[in-house]
C-alpha cells in the first residue's frame, strides 16, 4: 500500500472551493442536476481526474475523491461520480476524444452493468449481444444512477465474450424512478435494442473491471462525505439539546456513542486512502481487492454512523424535514449497491485467499 497520507496544497484548495459551493445547498432537496453539472464542468471537476490528453488536468483519482467527498457532504445528486468520474474513464478506454466530451461537460455517460440478480458477482452478465444488421442487446440492467446522455452497457456476445456497448439515453428503453435517496434511478429493459459496440474482448473486460473498482472507491468517498456531515450535525446536537436539565452530550451513554461514531468515521476515512492507493497501483488484482475492502469498510462504518446519528437526534431524526435522515438514506442505498457489504467482504476473501 502506498498511501497518500497528506493532501497537497492544490487538493486543499480544491476541497475548499467545492465545499464553499456545496455548503449553500439544502441537502433535503434533489436540486437541479443540469445546473449542477454545468457548474461542475465550469469549475473543472470533470477534468480533475483525467489526463491532459483527454482534456483533463492531469490529476488522479485522489483529486476526484476530494470532490466526491465534498459533494457527498451536501448530498449532491447530480451523478458526478457515476457519469463524470467513472463514466469519463470508461470512455477514456475508447478514445481520449470521447473522454474529453465528458471533461467539457457535454457528455454524461453512465455504466450499466449491474443486473437484478447479479449481486456483485462480476462475471454473471446475462445481457446478450447479437449481431444482425448491427448489434442488438437483450437483458435487464438495474440500479443505474444519474441522468446520463448515454449508457455504457456490459453484455456477452454469442461466444460468451464480454463486450461494452453504448446506447443513447433518448433511445434507451428505460424505466425511470426516484431512488430511496432521492436520486434519478434507471432500470434498463433491453429487447433487441440497437447499440454501438465500444470495446470487446480483453479491452472490454479491463475497462469494465477498472470502472467497477473506481465506482466502488469513489462512491465510498461520497459516502464518507455524507457520514462526516451526519456526524458533525450530531455532535452539534449533543452540545445544544437539553433534557433532564443538562446537555444530552453530558450523558455517558451518548458520549460513548459519539466516540464510537468518530472511531468508525476515521476508519472509513483511512480505508478510502487504501482504496485510492489500489486505483493508483496499476495492478488489477490489488486494485480489486482494495476496492472491495474499501467498499465493505465504508458501508459498515457508514450504516453505523448515520444510523446512530438518527438515534441520537431522537424523534426529530426520523423526520423528512430534518437533514440527518437524508444522509442515512444515502448510506442505505450506498451500502446495498453492487452486491452490498457482505458481497464485498466475500469478494475480498476470494481475491486475497484465492
Amino acid at each position: 500500500m502506498d498511501l497518500q497520507i497528506l493532501p497537497t496544497e492544490e487538493q486543499e484548495m480544491l476541497r475548499e472551493s467545492v465545499r464553499r459551493w456545496a455548503s449553500t445547498r439544502d441537502v433535503r432537496e434533489p436540486g437541479n442536476a443540469e445546473a449542477d453539472w454545468a457548474y461542475g464542468a465550469e469549475q473543472g471537476w470533470l477534468m480533475a481526474g483525467l489526463p491532459e490528453v483527454a482534456g483533463g488536468l492531469g490529476g488522479s483519482d485522489v483529486d476526484s475523491a476530494v470532490i466526491a467527498e465534498e459533494l457527498g457532504r451536501a448530498l449532491v445528486r447530480s451523478g458526478f461520480v457515476e457519469c463524470g468520474m467513472v463514466g469519463a474513464h470508461l470512455l477514456l478506454a475508447v478514445s481520449p476524444e470521447r473522454a474529453e466530451e465528458v471533461a467539457l461537460g457535454g457528455a454524461k455517460p453512465v455504466l450499466a452493468h449491474d443486473e437484478p440478480g447479479m449481486r456483485g458477482h462480476f462475471p454473471n452478465i446475462e445481457t446478450k449481444a447479437t449481431e444482425n444488421d448491427g448489434w442488438k442487446l437483450t437483458g435487464t440492467k438495474s440500479a443505474i444512477v444519474g441522468e446520463p446522455t448515454s449508457l455504457v452497457v456490459s453484455a456477452r456476445q454469442t461466444d460468451g465474450a464480454l463486450a461494452l456497448f453504448e446506447i443513447g439515453a433518448l433511445s434507451a428503453p428505460v424505466r425511470s424512478y426516484e431512488t430511496i435517496d432521492q436520486r434519478a434511478g434507471i432500470e434498463l429493459h433491453l429487447e433487441d435494442t440497437p447499440a454501438q459496440l465500444l470495446l470487446s474482448g480483453s479491452a472490454a473486460e479491463n475497462a469494465l473491471k477498472e470502472a467497477i473498482d473506481r465506482a466502488l472507491v469513489l462512491e465510498s468517498a461520497e459516502a464518507l462525505g455524507a457520514m462526516e456531515a451526519a456526524f458533525d450535525m450530531t455532535r452539534d446536537y449533543l452540545m445544544t439539546r437539553k433534557q433532564y436539565g443538562q446537555l444530552i452530550g453530558e450523558f455517558q451513554a451518548l458520549r460513548h456513542r459519539i466516540a464510537d461514531m468518530f472511531i468508525e468515521l476515521e476508519q472509513a476515512r483511512s480505508i478510502l486512502q487504501v482504496g485510492l492507493s489500489g486505483l493508483a497501483s496499476g495492478k488489477t488484482s490489488e486494485r480489486a481487492k482494495l476496492a472491495a475492502a474499501t467498499r465493505a469498510r465504508v458501508a459498515q462504518a457508514g450504516l453505523f454512523v448515520c444510523g446512530q446519528a438518527i438515534q441520537l437526534h431522537g424523534g426529530i431524526g426520523v423526520t423528512d424535514e430534518y437533514p440527518v435522515g437524508h444522509f442515512y438514506k444515502r448510506l442505505v442505498a450506498f451500502a446495498n449497491r453492487h452486491g452490498g457489504e457482505a458481497r464485498q467482504v466475500e469478494r475480498f476473501a476470494e481475491l486475497a485467499y484465492g
Partner: protein, 405 residues
C-alpha cells in the same frame, strides 16, 4: 364460523391455531391482506373493517380482562392469535386505543368513563392518539409543559404535543398535562382525555424519512375539556402513565412483526436468481446471518411468553422485563429490516411511495414487486428504538432496577 370464545378456550393450542387460521381465511378479504402485508402504514378503512369483524366475535380487546370484553384465553393462545392474524395480513387494531388508553381506562377510570369509552374502542368507533411527548419533553417526559387550568367544570388546555402517531385520523387523544407547578415535576401531571374535534386543536403533519404520514404535531389553544374527562385523581397522571409501560410490553416486543419480516426475507432470498448466481438463501454467508437472527428471535419470543406468564402468576414482579422486551424486539426488528434490504439487492433502490404502491402498482414499475413496502417499513422503524421510551432510557431503567441497593 360459529365457534365461541369459550369453546376456543377449551381447545388445545394447535386446534386453537387451526380455528383462528380458518376464521381469518374466511373473514379477511384477500386484497386487504395483500395490502397490509406490504408493510406500509395502516389504511384506516381496513383497520375499521377488521376491528368490527373481531368485535363481532368478542376478540378485538384480546388481552383485556373478561369483564371489559377480553377473551380470557391463556397467554399462549393470545400469542398464537396475534401471530396468526399478523402473518395472514390482518390490519392491526388501533394500538393506542387497545394497548394504551383502554387498559388505563379500565384500571383507573370511573364507571361512566368505562361505560362510555371501552365499547367504542372495541367497536373501532373511537381511534385514539397518544399526547405525551412535547418538543422539549422527549426522553425527559416529566418536564412537559402543556397546561390544563381548571375553570369551573372545565380545564382550559394550552400547549403542544409532538410525535402524535395517527392523530390525523383519530377521534380522541389522551394527554399528559400539567395541572400544578408545585413540588417535583412528576407530581403536577394529570391524565386527560380530549376529543380531537374540540375547538382550538390544530393538527400539523410530520412526514417521516420513509415518506409516509404517521406523525403529527398537535397544538392546543384554549381548548376546553370537561373535568369529567380527567382519569383518576388530579396530579396523579405520572403514576398512571408509568403503568402503560407494563401494559405495552406484549405490543412493544414486536414478536409477530419480527416473525413476519423473517418470513418475508426467506421468501425473497428463496427466489430463483436469473443471473446464475444461485439462490441467495443457499449462500452460506447469508443463511448464517438469517439463522442467527431467527435464533435471537426464538429466544426473544420465549422471553416474552415467560415474562407474561410470570407476571400473570405474580412471580418475579420486580424484574425490568418490559424494558428488556422493548430493547430486544426493536433492535431485532431493525436488524431484520436491514437483512431484508440486503436480500432485495438492487430491487431495494427504487422509492416505492406509499400512495402509489399500496393499492395498485403502476404498470412499468421498476424492480421487483417483492420489494414494495420493504424499504419504507425499514426506514419507518428507525424510530422503533426512539419511540415508546428510547432504548437508552430503557437501558437506564434496566440498570436502575438491577443496581438498586
Amino acid at each position: 364460523m360459529t365457534i365461541s370464545t369459550e369453546q376456543l378456550h377449551q381447545l388445545s393450542d394447535e386446534e386453537f391455531r387451526a380455528e383462528i387460521r380458518a376464521f381469518v381465511a374466511e373473514q379477511l378479504p384477500a386484497e386487504m391482506a395483500a395490502r397490509t402485508l406490504l408493510g406500509y402504514h395502516p389504511h384506516k378503512p381496513d383497520v375499521e373493517f377488521w376491528t368490527a369483524r373481531l368485535n363481532e366475535k368478542g376478540w378485538a380487546a384480546l388481552n383485556w380482562p373478561t369483564e371489559y370484553g377480553g377473551t380470557g384465553w391463556s397467554i399462549t393462545k393470545r400469542h398464537i392469535f396475534d401471530e396468526e392474524c399478523y402473518l395472514a395480513g390482518c390490519p392491526a387494531v388501533n394500538p393506542q386505543a387497545f394497548h394504551l388508553v383502554g387498559p388505563i381506562i379500565y384500571a383507573i377510570g370511573n364507571q361512566e368513563q368505562k361505560d362510555y369509552f371501552l365499547p367504542k374502542i372495541r367497536s373501532g368507533e373511537h381511534f385514539w392518539a397518544q399526547g405525551f411527548s412535547e418538543p422539549n419533553a422527549g426522553s425527559d417526559l416529566a418536564s412537559l409543559q402543556t397546561r390544563a387550568v381548571r375553570d369551573g367544570d372545565e380545564y382550559v388546555v394550552n400547549g403542544q404535543k409532538i410525535w402524535t402517531s395517527e392523530a390525523q385520523y383519530c377521534d380522541w387523544v389522551f394527554c399528559l398535562v400539567r395541572t400544578s407547578t408545585e413540588g417535583r415535576k412528576q407530581a403536577g401531571i394529570s391524565f386527560l382525555l380530549v376529543d380531537l374535534k374540540t375547538p382550538g386543536i390544530t393538527i400539523r403533519p410530520i412526514i417521516g424519512i420513509e415518506g409516509g404520514h404517521v406523525l403529527n404535531e398537535v397544538f392546543f389553544e384554549d381548548v376546553r375539556v370537561p373535568v369529567t374527562n380527567l382519569i383518576g385523581e388530579e396530579n396523579e397522571g405520572w403514576t398512571y402513565a408509568k403503568q402503560l409501560l407494563g401494559a405495552e410490553r406484549t405490543f412493544s416486543a414486536v414478536v409477530p412483526r419480527c416473525k413476519g419480516l423473517a418470513a418475508r426475507i426467506k421468501s425473497i432470498a428463496a427466489e430463483e436468481n436469473t443471473c446464475g448466481a444461485g439462490r441467495l438463501i443457499n449462500e452460506p454467508h447469508f443463511a448464517r446471518r438469517l439463522a442467527q437472527l431467527e435464533i435471537e428471535l426464538m429466544a426473544h419470543e420465549a422471553t416474552l411468553l415467560r415474562v407474561v406468564a410470570e407476571e400473570e402468576a405474580g412471580v418475579n414482579q420486580h424484574s425490568p422485563t418490559p424494558s428488556i422486551l422493548k430493547v430486544k424486539g426493536t433492535e431485532l426488528l431493525q436488524k431484520l429490516g436491514a437483512l431484508a434490504i440486503e436480500a432485495l439487492g438492487d430491487a431495494a433502490m427504487p422509492h416505492y411511495a406509499e400512495g402509489d404502491y399500496m393499492l395498485d402498482a403502476p404498470s412499468q414499475a421498476p424492480g421487483n414487486p417483492a420489494a414494495y413496502g420493504v424499504v419504507s417499513d425499514f426506514l419507518y422503524h428507525r424510530s422503533a428504538t426512539i419511540y415508546g421510551g428510547a432504548n437508552e432510557v430503557q437501558r437506564n431503567i434496566i440498570a436502575a432496577q438491577l443496581l438498586r441497593a
